[in-house]
Amino acid sequence: MKYLLVEDNLELAQAVASRIRLDGHTVDHAAKIADATAFVDTGDYDLILLDIMLPDGDGRNFLKQHRARKNLTPVIVLTARSQVSDRISLLDLGADDYLTKPFDHAELQARCRAVLRRNAGSAQSVATFGDVEFDAVSGLLHVSGRAINLRNRELRLLELLIASKGQVFSKQKLVDRLFSYDDDVSENAIEVYIGRLRKHLEGSKVRIVTLRGLGYRLEHDN
């Protein structure tokens, strides 16, 4: 999927962008409203992440213009303010959702997914791996003609494994990616989700391989 990140703080933009790329998505970065407008005009984005305070104006104005031009690309606002009235006015202006800085990346992903699901049809979200088709937005897994509705953690786990095909993931890393930091989760919790995914993938050529002492890897037979 293709994201446009509008954020004037370079450090934050880099951190967020690299984190989004880690999930296997493409990100363009605009530091000003003018740049953002140019990007939106030329590129076809699935989602826009918008900061509110920008050097050449208020992100809300960009939002207003964006909606006035009947651009349907969903927008998630990254705001530093947390007052409820502010959030409400953001939604009134046509933002699809908002997230208060600093934010949990997993929550950002969850919100992106929810927004894309609500704007169904606009996003290219189907990934193919071996004989398995997987739609990360709707959470549907197609295995040999069956459509399986994945739970959220199963979905994120599979998304992770598919996005970095062939890479080995340690249990630790998977815990970091799937659970928030205030959950006290043992690494064995991962085994539950790996077990469930394996069950879903039965009958396909795709397998989750355990590499003793290292972690898991997604493979498929040709």
Binding site: A15, R19, Q83, D97, K101, P102, Q172
Partner: protein, 455 residues
């Protein structure tokens, strides 16, 4: 926020007192003046008749054989007949000698004037009015002076006077009452103008700092002018401080977000347990501080709005629907299902922003403590009264905490490792109090916490 204003008297009362006082004074003057005038006129009437009667007697005086003779005409007495049967006395003198009548009535005075003299005197407890006239008859033995006095009691006169006094008194009271009514009306309309201004200012929402544009009377213009100036200054200050808070939040939260994102990204690359632990601690600390800052701001906002409660129609069902949609992504991260059971519509009078904030805090709490892959039920019943309940399948409350948890910065005992500020339930409690609702924390018999707001 209603502050006590030191009050010294009421303009309206002062006006009423001054105006009715004036009316009372005028009524008394009116009464006295009309009464005096009436007495004078009545006296004049009696005097005229007495004069006529006296003159008709005096006119008959002639000198016969050097002696004074009078022919007392009948009409002289009949003209003095009154309804009150007033008694009539007379005295006729020739020089100092009483010819006929009552000696005590008058003593012929030495004055030689021919005019009629009127005087009042008391006789046997009656007031008498006496008219005395004199005439000089020229005879062969020189001039002889004849004096005639006619007196009449004043019963009829005082009866007439009493009657007119009653009427005058009625007139005075009527005048007083009518003037008082006019005074009260005038005072009320005058103070009504001010009350109108006051209500139009009071009725505004807490955010409305626009100048008063309705036309006001000239006398109130300076006050309204200063009020407008004051409000525009307040508005500026508020806007400036809002901008300042926004700017400050932006400056603080953006770097925090950067640190958090970097820490999170670094976590993906780091394998050593101690490094991972410190990075996780860092992320947790950032979450803690940003959440606390957010809650503090929210709390300030809630306190402000609760004190200046704006009541509009709010549909609880629609509000919770929207909220659940917004919070579903956060719930999905832990595979928690948010289920709604809503009686719709559930419309009550309240502040939507406050209610939304309270419900968000409650659902937030439930999300924090509910185990993975469980259900949180958000429920609204509208009969017999509005009840919103949010129940989870988490550990529930400790029995002894139920009373204390809504206190400021108080956190539950089983909340180790959970990010929180301890302000959530305080906010809910304040919103509930502002809406006259009751916050109840219970544990469900089958386990799990249930938080109820009964309106």
């Amino acid at each position: 926020m209603t502050t006590k204003v030191s009050v010294s008297g009421s303009l309206r009362n002062r006006l009423v007192i001054i105006l009715t006082g004036g009316a009372a004074f005028l009524a008394v003057i009116l009464y006295v003046a009309v009464r005096l005038l009436a007495a004078q006129v009545a006296q004049q009437g009696q005097d005229n008749i007495l004069n006529a009667s006296m003159s008709s007697v005096l006119d008959t005086a002639v000198l016969r054989d050097g002696r004074v003779a009078l022919d007392f005409p009948y009409s002289a007495l009949s003209m003095l007949t009154t309804d009150a049967d007033d008694r009539v006395y007379y005295a006729i003198y020739e020089e100092e000698n009483l010819l006929s009548g009552y000696q005590w009535l008058v003593s012929p005075s030495a004055d030689a004037s021919d005019g009629t003299r009127f005087e009042s005197m008391a006789f046997e407890g009656d007031q008498l009015r006496v008219a005395t006239g004199a005439r000089t008859l020229i005879g062969p033995n020189g001039p002889r002076r004849v004096f005639v006095s006619i007196a009449q009691t004043q019963d009829a006169l005082s009866e007439t006077l009493n009657a007119s006094t009653r009427n005058v008194a009625l007139l005075g009271v009527g005048f007083f009452l009518m003037s008082s009514a006019v005074a009260i009306w005038a005072a009320s309309t005058t103070s009504g103008q001010m009350r109108k201004l006051a209500t139009s200012v009071t009725r505004r929402g807490p955010q409305d700092l626009s100048p008063v544009s309705k036309p006001v009377p000239t006398e109130m213009a300076p006050l309204v002018g200063s009020l407008n100036t004051f409000m525009s200054r307040l508005d500026q200050t508020l806007t400036r401080s809002e901008d300042f808070i926004a700017e400050a939040a932006h400056r603080i939260r953006t770097p925090l977000a950067t640190v958090r994102s970097h820490a999170e990204a670094t976590l993906q690359r780091v394998d050593r347990e101690e490094n991972r632990k410190s990075l996780q601690a860092m992320v947790r600390a950032i979450d803690e501080s940003s959440r606390a800052a957010g809650q503090l701001l929210d709390h300030a906002m809630v306190t402000f709005r609760a004190e200046n409660l704006e009541r509009n129609e709010v549909d609880l069902a629609a509000l919770l629907d929207e909220l659940v949609i917004r919070m579903t992504p956060a719930a999905e991260m832990n595979d928690i299902t948010l289920t709604t059971e809503l009686d719709r519509p559930a419309v009550l009078q309240g502040d939507a922003i406050l209610l939304q904030n309270a419900f968000r805090n409650l659902i937030d709490n439930a999300l924090k403590y509910a185990p993975n892959e469980t259900e949180i039920i958000v429920k609204v019943t509208s009969a017999p009264s509005f009840v919103v309940s949010i129940s989870d399948e988490g550990p529930g409350f400790e029995d002894d905490e139920v009373e204390t948890l809504s206190g400021r910065f108080v956190r539950g005992k089983n909340m180790v490792n959970k990010v929180g500020s301890g302000l959530g339930l305080t906010i809910v409690q304040e919103v509930a109090a502002a809406h006259g609702a009751k916050l109840t924390l219970t544990n469900k018999p089958e386990g799990g916490a249930c938080v109820t707001l009964s309106f």
